[in-house]
Structures are given as structure tokens and as C-alpha cells.
Homo-oligomer: 343 residues x 2
């Protein structure tokens, strides 16, 4: 249904524009190529309401993937990321298309601007798809505050992400706060709440899901931060050691700085200040991060969060929150899958 | 009410983020500093319904300025525009702030990314402000299709705008088509339709407003194209001859190419191919454009559109479209003001 929605929107808006086929193809890929985490959490949130399966709710949940496509398209431009899911990023491919046509002007800049605009379209279409999902006005009315919070946090979190640079050694507390705003809430908590609000769940359930979502979301992002340093390109679909190359101040990078001995810290700072990094330097940087104990500690933080999240949910169910066995099982599995060690 | 809405949203989302005051200040300026054309047309559309003044409708109309702030913030990044309304553009000022704080990383790139994100926030908040305006769900339900069309056209039009480059000599017909999509519909027709749909106007009125809006919007953009080449910075708030510097394929630039004699065209092409333009070259380019007769013809096109637009509306009223005298007078004045020669 996502593919269909995007195809219809392209037919409506993009038709007749130069590069229309390229754009439609890119949008289809960005929308359909992921792990569907956010739409899954939104649909599980819906199921917490006890009304069972619904095509309208499925469409509402699927709209999360369009919102995610917006975030990916624009983040990749801002981070100047060359690859996403094992392929060149949208802005790179649009620039190539521009160059191949022999257009005048700066192809790189054109690609970036066009990718930003595609992101804007996805942002608009996500909201449209949710609004037109077929759910009642009352259901949507309950969900909009969560949706607005989610979109606001996403933009502000990305701003903070750009602002913190590994070279300036931000504090771990600030980085965790940013993590929570940007991807923690956005990946798990808000989608769950959105689905549950659509289904009319009461405050007890919403609070239980919020607690679970915050912890699992944070664990997910901590895992993602480990992958950004240590993940193999085959798993991440991104260049080797991508976060180090981009000098991102992610949790594991910042924690390593805080745990480092003076001599380790000196070596870390020297690597971080390099203009360009060789493969050997990336490997050395990785080794140093491990030596500081940061990886072990982040692993512990992930496990701790996943366990606490699940225990909190189980407690809430025992204390009477109306969460059925199927939903609980799925959420336990998702807490593990979303934060699992897969590199 | 706009300032208040933006202040509340900033308090909700931007608080505690580095640079929060800068961001809140910039947003306030971008939202409040314009001519309020789009919100005015939306409110006039509302008045066509005959229900009279309404605070809720005023809020809905005001949300158009947030949408416009989104367009300005992001267009200025994509066009690398240094000035807007007589001040440095948002991305330039954020870059300066970044530099002044001695942050690591590329300040220019940071400024551009942050301005894009501010634009995203405005896009999201515009929709939220419209949705929360206080108008009934039925009224909003009638208006969403126009709103979705408007936002889609805006992004696709900007894409086409980036694509057409004066150095590639696009055809006048394509440029006019882009003009219609991007700013014609966005500035006049869609806001009018949106307001009228909110007010529950019938198809006769909606059609009359669409016809008027398309023509006045096009005239407005043609005037803007003339200002982009000939407007003084005191009037435009932008650098002298801005569209020539950016090699924009605007109506007057493209028409000059089509009307030029072989020798004029050769001189035009030579100027267009320059890497950098001196003041003297800008002046020469302007003179050449006037020599081709393009300016006279664009002036004629503007007058023709404004007159036809107004005549069409008057005819519709005579033939029974329920448009009262006050609304007709305002629309006649706006057709003149929005397209007037003010340089």
C-alpha cells in the first residue's frame, strides 16, 4: 500500500517534470528498503487497543515509513553520506544523473537540493497518508499531538546531532539527551504511542508503552552507534567506520573520550583532529575505543535498557494494564531484535 | 497570533538546544517580515463564503506565512542567496553564529543544514496551525485537498526551478509552466481556494477564484522576474541583479533570448557563460535584455493578465456567482497591488 500511495502521489505531482522516472524510482526505494521498525511499532501500538487487525490502521502505520524516508533523504545530505543500504545515496545518484545529462551548474549542489525537496515531499505525503488512512476523525484527533511531538523532536534532534562534533568533546549526558530526542523517541516510543492513541488506549497503557519505548529506543540508538563504528558494510549498508569518518559525537565515541587514560585520550584527540583518515587510522581508532572499555560499557547499557524495558511492561501488565499476551510477546521479541548484536 | 504560535512551538521544541535564542529570533523574523500576500488571499477566500470575520479563519490564513517561511528558508539555501528582505539570510547568519562560537566543522555547511531543518519545522508547524485553527473538521476536510496540492506543487516547482538554468536556454513555455506551478498557484490561486473551501464556497465561486488566481499569480511572478533583474536592492531586499548573478532562467531572461537578434543573442550567451559578473557586465546584460524588447513584452503580459483576471471575476459575479461588492473590490485592488510596478 505504501508503494501504491507513493506511485499515486508521483503520478499526481511529479509527472512531466524532468527526471520524473528517476525521482519515482528513488522514492520507491527509500520508502520500501528498510526494516520497517517504526511502522511495526506503530501497528503494535494499534493492536494494544484490542480492536484487532485493520487496513486503515495498517495504512496509518505504513505512513511512518514515508516520514522515515524524509529523515533519511535529508540526513544523508546534511551528513554528506555517500551510501545508504548498500547503494549510493539519493543526492549522489541525482547528481550523477545531472552530470550525465550534461546540465549546466553544479551537479553536487543540484543533487543535494533535489534530495532535500524529495524529503519535503515525503514529509508532506506522510501526514497526508496518515490523515487519509481511513481511521476516524476522533482517532486521528487523539493521535495528532503525538505525531506533532514526533516530527518536532526529529528536526530538533537532527539539529543537535549536527551541532555536536566529536572534535569538541561534548558531554556524554548531552549526547544521550540528543539520542533520546532524535532517534530514541522517534524510532520506538512515539510510533508506539501514536498507534495506541489511534486505538484509543487509556493513560495506563500509554504510560507503559512510553516507558518501554524510551528505553528500547535508546538501546536501539546505542546499538546503532556501535554499528556506526564497528559494523561491517555488509550489515550497515554504509562505509566502514562511517561515524568516525564523519567525526560524529556518538555515544561510544564520546564515552571512550571520558573513560580514556591521559595517554589514550591524547591518541584519540590526535586521530580525531586528522583531516583525512586512512584505513589503518580507522582501525587504530577502533582499537583505542575498545581499549578504553567504552564498548563493554555501551553493551551493558543496551542490555540493561532492553531488560528494564521488558520488565516494566510485564509489571504494568501484572498490575492490570490491559495488554494481551500476543502484544507482550511481540514487544519482548522486538526489544531483543531492535537492539541485538548483529555485526 | 503567528508570533505567539511560533513562540509556543519554540518553547515546546527548541528550548534547551544550543542556539535556541538565535533560532527563535530567526523564525520570528522569517514568519513576520513579509507582505502577507498568501495569508491575505487565503482570508479573502474565506470571506467569499459570506460568513464574515472569524478568528479561527484568521489563524488558518496566518498559517500560510509559516508555510511561506519554510519555502523561503529552504529556497535561500538551494539558491545560495546571501540576502533576504535586506538582511543576511538565515543560513548565512547561522553559519556566522557557528563560526563566532569557534565550533569545529564547516560553518557554511552547518548553517545550510540548520536552515533546512528550520524550514522543516515551519512546514510541520504550518500544517499544525491550520489543523488547530479552531475551524470545524468538516471545513478542514474540504480544504485538505487544496492544501496538499499546494504543498506538492511548491516542492515540485522548486525542483523545476533548480533544474532550469539560463545557460541551457529552456523554452519560454517550460519556464511559464514552472512559474505557474511554483509561485503562481502557490501565491494566489491555492490560498484563495483554500480559504474558499474552508468557508464552504460552491464550485462556481471556486472556479471563478481559480481562474482569477492563476492569472494574478502568474502576473505576480512575471513582476517578480522583472524585479529579479531590474529591481533596486532597496525594493527587493536582495542584491542588485540577483537573478542574473544566479543564472536563473526566469521569464524575462528566457524571453530576451528568444527575441534577440543573432548578434544580441551572441552577446547574451557570452555574458551568461561568464564565471563571475562585474557590475558593468550586469548593467550591460540588463541593457541588452531591454534592447530585445523582452521587458516591454513582459509588462504587456502582466497588464493583460491582471486585466483579464479582474474581468473574469466581474463576469462571474454578473452571471450570478455569489461574490459580494467588498470582496470584489479587495480582489481588484490586490490584482493591481500584487503585480504593480514598484521599482
Amino acid at each position: 500500500m505504501l508503494a501504491e500511495f507513493v506511485r499515486d502521489r508521483c503520478a499526481e505531482h511529479v509527472r512531466g517534470v524532468p527526471g520524473a522516472e528517476l525521482v519515482a524510482g528513488l522514492l520507491g526505494e527509500y520508502v520500501a528498503g528498510g526494516k520497517y521498525l517504526r511502522s511495526t511499532f506503530a501497528y503494535i501500538g494499534w493492536l494494544c487497543g484490542g480492536a484487532g487487525d485493520s487496513d486503515a490502521a495498517l495504512r496509518a502505520a505504513a505512513s511512518m515509513e514515508l516520514l522515515h524516508a524524509f529523515a533519511l533523504l535529508q540526513d544523508d545530505v546534511m551528513d554528506a553520506s555517500p551510501m545508504r543500504r548498500g547503494r549510493a545515496t539519493a543526492h549522489v545518484r541525482i547528481a550523477d544523473w545531472h552530470r550525465a545529462r550534461g546540465q549546466a551548474g553544479d551537479a553536487g549542489r543540484f543533487g543535494e537540493s533535489a534530495a532535500i525537496l524529495l524529503g519535503d515531499l515525503c514529509l508532506v505525503w506522510a501526514e497526508q497518508m496518515l490523515r487519509e488512512s481511513g481511521l476516524s476523525a476522533a482517532a486521528l484527533g487523539r493521535a495528532w499531538p503525538y505525531y506533532d511531538a514526533l516530527r518536532g523532536e526529529l528536526a530538533v534532534g537532527q539539529f543537535a546531532d549536527l551541532f555536536y562534533d566529536a572534535r569538541r568533546r561534548p558531554a556524554m549526558a548531552d549526547v544521550l539527551d540528543m539520542t533520546r530526542r532524535k532517534s530514541g523517541n522517534y524510532t520506538v516510543r512515539r510510533p508506539l504511542e501514536l498507534g495506541a492513541a489511534l486505538a484509543g488506549c487509556d493513560q495506563v497503557v500509554l504510560r507503559a508503552l512510553a516507558g518501554y519505548g524510551e528505553l528500547v529506543g535508546e538501546a536501539f540508538q546505542l546499538r546503532d552507534d556501535l554499528l556506526g563504528v564497528f559494523g561491517s558494510p555488509a550489515v550497515t549498508g554504509k562505509p566502514d567506520g562511517g561515524d568516525l569518518r564523519e567525526r560524529k559525537a556518538t555515544s561510544v565515541v564520546v564515552l571512550a573520550g571520558e573513560l580514556a587514560t591521559p595517554s589514550q585520550r591524547e591518541r584519540l584527540d590526535r586521530l580525531c583532529a586528522r583531516d583525512r583518515l586512512t584505513e589503518a587510522e580507522i582501525a587504530a581508532w577502533r582499537g583505542l575505543i575498545e581499549e578504553t572499555g567504552a564498548v563493554t560499557q555501551i553493551e551493558r547499557m543496551i542490555e540493561n535498557r532492553a531488560t528494564t524495558a521488558w520488565a516494566g511492561l510485564e509489571n504494568a501488565a501484572v498490575e492490570g494494564a490491559p495488554l494481551d499476551a500476543f502484544v507482550l510477546t511481540v514487544l519482548r521479541d522486538l526489544a531483543i531484535r531492535a537492539t541485538d548484536r548483529v555485526w
